[in-house]
Symmetry: C2
Subunit: 737 residues, 2 copies
């Protein structure tokens, strides 16, 4: 087939619309259709879903969250073990086959965290978070002191340089001012990306140490009323967090690519390329004000001034110095994943839901809201089984330990079970901060974005009376005007500006990463966001949720309903509702962008030609598969072929993996999506090719372009096989639409 | 002539390029040409200009500024009289015919200015500006206390509502929050337009009083280091300023349209429509922090948070109340304009330069830098005369009194001399804040923008070694990235984003307004801007200029050179270098925009048809005049015809006046440009039509469209007459380019 590109693009889009008529609800479609279900099965699915959605309730979610937030439960501690046991018991009581799976990971705990201003005056810093009388939890002495997990120990006294957000651009700006950070302490504010990238860049620029602080402009008083008057970060609030270089690989640092079981072969810590090398610590705004306020030197560049009440300076001279001392106790510590299974009529395919259970302190929003929501999903599914329903496929609900240090529990489980997951997993549905407000946001693989949108149409927004989809659609109409403060959570959505109810691409920052980036399991990540300034602080507690995040727990219920609706559709579908026409469009848009970039360099443009051809072939195959699938009808369905199609559909994503992974970070195997090496949590499309273009590195570009093309051709062949299987079923008599 | 619009536009632009070959320097042009000069006269003009530009020097400018800032010299005080006498004597010593012209204007002085917080606690506010030991001037007890001139007296105790910048949009936002300001004290921050519009809007929304404060985000610590560490506003710094409704009419409030001489007929103050009716006062950021910090009520909308270190709230409840007491002593007070004349070979045409001399306190940047620069222009012109040169036309240099209260001195002088000015004035060149940093900025009538640019190519930037034009061009390459804090001066440039070295349209805020808006004299306004946070405060003093604004006084010299270069070109030109092709382009662009706006309303679209036709006719006439003018050569010039052309060229601007003025503000007579009624200092094109469209007012729209069309047709006829005169000269033999 030899079509010119614009035509083929149009064909894909047009074909996508036809597929929708089988696989997706749309306004143009008969109201009684449901994506993936043959007409004769739609009513049963609708009844099942309605029954399901009546079960989750706010009182249950509130009770569960109260229990989950009753004590600090950091990964690697006994409290985390207790939460895992409680979760396992909950699922057992719902009728699930539930167990704890344990790993042993290299995991530090802080023994000493000291910071003092040495010059111009001596003053102790590293002040703790202030307790508030109305909220006794904030007095809890078990809360871990604020630290950046995976920082090495260290003892540094040096001048300070303010580096804005500490991004690559910020270091370039410092260089243009003639300011070096070599041997100095970098002071950077949170925001504009993952803190582990700030640490990596500070290390690469030979800083002696790094301090990361919460500027009130980002999530403090300049964003809104601070806790306990409002939901934003008070001056003493500290954002804990990992600085593990998860952009290189997540999970236990000593066992990349294999499960961290007791007898696993382990790297020496010095050989672990995702461990940082300079001492790094987080501080609150009140400490930052002391340091920043005493910095001299040049006035900061435009855009570097934050919300503290004085003029920011770059610093760098010996007039302002700090002394930082960190003592970290590194050891192998246990992780406790909870794996709860509801067996289907067949165990051959699994629909997997997941959320982590470890928390920095109490973790009401992060992750308790997601945990409480998912528990309600599990409870409701259990009720359905009790009332006689039997799932068609198997549903697995996972609660991960060690997400906060660096996706440890999920990564180790995926590494342990990779082959079986790749054979059986239909999809992985993640929620982390399930509820921090009323604003739905999500990321997903392109093939599942429509399914996700469809599910949100079925669930009421507890405040507006319309559906969650309606509120989401409306809130994104003014997204430019209402830009949210950055850096307040792991939910980072790359918004396509022109799309209403936009579903972002999967980046990093939560447990979908091993499923998607490493194992090629089609994934979704979702949650309700909002005015959430207490991220990773002691204040992310039950009081915060009850007063600000979700006082009625209505959004917890909405979350449970969306999760369950998606699970039931994937579980019960006649033909799994994957939309590869959308995937092909997303790929072609990005290939066009890359080709436009490369056009300036003829050598690079040549290297991209195979990618362009493979992308066209993928698009053509997606069209053929889509056309063939829409011909399947109730009359014609052949169960054996349908099973083959249903096994093949999710595996198109795996065909996009490259076995050796990306150049320089082999753990990341997906050729189309990865978190950017320097892009924070954000997703990067065609990461190998994109970063090789960024660096003007033709050798890597050729290698990455070749593996991307090969992956696209494999996926294309997989789609052709699906088309062949679909066409092998007898075609129905033509009907009008 | 019946050409379709796109063709006619193209013809105008193309013709403009030909005109340049006679009238404008450009890269494509022979290097020895000078706009407006026949080839045989170019070298003499160049020599004259070079001689002129060698004379102004930094030591003179510094001495003059030191003298001008030696005491506070508010309009209406004896100190202002003393400055006028000194200036008159300076020009006399340069060889000018110099005199003081006096008027008597309705001018208040503050007797009591009190503000206190009453609830939640009682606290005295209206704190004064803090003195600094290094700068004895800041201890001067003669500085006028901070007030807003033309506020009425008043005594109000009421709750406070924060209204962001107090713009029309801000009141709409308050209304959408359900917050009324009726009977309350509005607290608004400086920025986003003229403070007199804030006062008018507060009055229209039935506020009891208005407080305007300087938020540190605008021109305080968030912009850069505050005085005396840097050039920005300290926490105690207050922006004094007029709230006279100069958007209705400027000048003495009791004598609109006539000179405020002793026996003039005067309005009763209650009948003066430009006098505000609610008590209004300015405060510093430290007082604002006390009030704003105690406001409760709703969290402010997005974009309303400023730079003070707490969350801003809208307020409005009785929990926060202030008591304001103002006692203003209104009386007729004397103004002293200085008019210095250098007579030309003929007195029939005048090139006028102007700058005000009254100051809020010491007025180093505003207006002393402009005064010191213009004095050097005058001294250098005097030296040229002493060395034997005789100006061709007459040069008049004016220093106005009473600019700060509302352009009083200039307006009264223009009203007194309107007929003579309209007969004789070639152009009016204004500078106000002549130097507040290194960044050249200017506004002008479209016909003089190229002349202005050409003059800046002849003058060196004292810091870069290139020309002022080069620095200006380069600085506007990144104008989007480097956006300046707003509200820091009267130099407001409406930047055309796509133009390098952009020259704005003339708005309001300085003494060009009566010349341009009222008398139709082609005008230019210019100055060097920069990091200027001490506007209208006690800190705008000699120390500030010597440490921050222009330590070497090199930009004062550059200003004098640009002013003089423009004056010499206008003075000596064979054919005055007006570019009406540019004017036609500007008009057609705006007519297209208005037509596009009106297209949604067929009734309104019909009313704009005459404007569209008149605009096309104006463009065609501009093309014809341009073509005819470029045929004039040394060989063919006819002195009598040339004189007629030179009288006619500036009068095209007057043809654009409408005798009855704009509907609702008859003092403003220009149909193409006016300051916007609610647009702050910014210029509004075709103001009558634009504002009628804004209000959906078809009756006014018809009236304004008709008077605009008539004006364009008059100007078109004037251009046709110029073309006829030019064609009447014998044409030269054709030459190649």
């Amino acid at each position: 087939m030899n079509v010119s590109k614009p035509q083929s693009r149009f064909a894909v889009l047009a074909a996508g619309l036809f597929l929708l008529s089988l696989a997706m609800p749309s306004r143009a479609q008969a109201p009684d259709s449901v994506s993936g279900f043959l007409p004769s099965h739609v009513e049963a699915e609708r009844q099942l879903e309605r029954k399901f959605r009546l079960i989750p309730d706010a009182a249950h979610a509130e009770d569960d969250l109260r229990h989950l937030t009753s004590q600090p439960h950091l990964a690697g501690t006994e409290a985390s073990h207790q939460v895992a046991e409680w979760l396992r018991d909950q699922y057992k009581s719902f009728g699930f086959d539930a167990q704890i799976v344990s790993y042993s990971a290299w995991l530090p705990q802080p023994r000493e965290v000291q910071l003092e201003l040495v010059k111009p005056v001596r003053r102790a810093l590293a002040t703790p978070e202030a307790p508030f009388d109305g909220d006794p939890a904030t007095y809890d002495q078990r809360a871990v002191r604020a630290f950046n997990i995976y920082s090495p120990s260290g003892d540094v006294t040096a001048p300070v340089v303010y580096a804005n957000y500490g991004t690559l651009d910020d270091y370039r700006e410092l260089a243009s001012l003639g300011v070096s950070v070599e041997g100095k302490v970098v002071l950077a504010r949170y925001g504009e990306g993952y803190r582990g990238i700030k640490a990596k860049l500070a290390e690469e620029h030979r800083a002696a140490a790094l301090i990361i602080y919460s500027d009130p402009e980002e999530d403090g008083y300049a964003a809104g009323d601070p806790y306990p008057q409002g939901p934003w970060r008070p001056m003493s609030g500290i954002q804990r967090g990992s600085i593990l270089y998860t952009q290189i690989y997540p999970g236990d640092p000593l066992t990349p690519g294999v499960a961290a079981v007791s007898d696993a072969q382990r790297l020496a810590p010095a050989a672990a390329s995702d461990l940082p090398h300079i001492p790094t610590m987080p501080i609150n705004a009140q400490d930052a004000a002391v340091i920043l306020g005493s910095l001299r030197g040049k006035h900061v560049p435009h855009g570097w001034q934050g919300g503290l009440p004085f003029t920011y300076h770059v610093g760098g001279s010996r007039d302002t110095q700090v002394h930082m001392k960190l003592v970290m106790d590194y050891a192998e510590r246990p992780l406790y994943d909870v794996i709860a299974t509801l067996h289907g009529a067949s165990d051959d395919q699994w629909v997997i839901l997941g959320n982590h259970h470890d928390a920095w302190v109490f973790g009401a929003a992060d992750p308790g809201s997601g945990t409480a929501g998912m528990l309600e999903t599990g409870r409701a599914l259990g009720e359905l089984v009790r009332s006689g329903w039997k799932p068609r496929r198997t549903i697995v609900i996972c609660h991960w330990d060690g997400e906060e240090p660096g996706l440890l529990g999920s990564t180790e489980w995926v590494e342990a079970n990779r082959a079986e997951l790749q054979a059986k997993a239909v999809a992985y549905i993640n929620t982390d901060v399930g509820v921090a407000g009323p604003d739905f946001a999500a990321s997903a693989t392109p093939s599942l974005k429509d399914l996700l949108r469809a599910a949100t149409r079925e669930v009421a927004d507890p405040e507006t009376g319309g559906s969650v989809y309606d509120s989401w659609f409306q809130s994104t109409e003014n997204v430019k005007e209402k830009e949210k403060p950055s850096g307040t959570g792991s939910q980072v959505v790359t918004v396509e500006a022109s799309v209403k109810a936009p579903v972002g691409d999967l980046g990093a920052g939560s447990d979908f990463s091993p499923f998607f980036d490493y194992a090629g399991i089609p994934s979704i990540d979702m949650g309700f966001g909002g005015d959430y300034g207490v991220y990773h602080s002691i204040y992310d507690d039950f009081y915060w949720m009850k007063h600000f995040g979700d006082p009625t727990f209505g959004y917890h219920v909405a979350l449970a309903r969306i999760l369950g609706t998606i699970a039931l559709r994937l579980d019960e579908a006649d033909i799994l509702p994957f939309n590869y026409a959308s995937y092909a469009s997303a790929i072609q848009r990005n290939v066009d962008d890359l080709a436009a970039r490369a056009a300036r360099q003829p050598d690079e443009a040549v290297l991209l030609k195979p990618v362009e051809q493979a992308s066209e072939q993928f698009a053509a195959s997606a069209t053929r598969a889509t056309d063939a699938l829409r011909m399947i009808s109730t009359a014609s369905i052949d169960p054996a072929n349908a099973e083959k199609i249903n096994r093949a559909l999710p595996e198109v994503e795996q065909a996009l993996l490259t076995p050796d992974g990306l150049v320089g970070r082999p753990w990341f195997k997906h050729t189309v999506y990865a978190p950017g090496s320097y892009a924070g949590y954000a997703s990067e499309m065609m990461p190998g090719v994109t970063e090789a273009l960024d660096r003007d590195d033709p050798v890597t570009l050729r290698q990455e372009a070749d593996s991307l093309s090969a992956a696209l051709l494999r996926a294309s062949a997989q789609l052709d096989e699906i088309a062949r299987l679909a066409r092998a079923m007898p075609t129905p008599a033509p009907e009008g639409h």
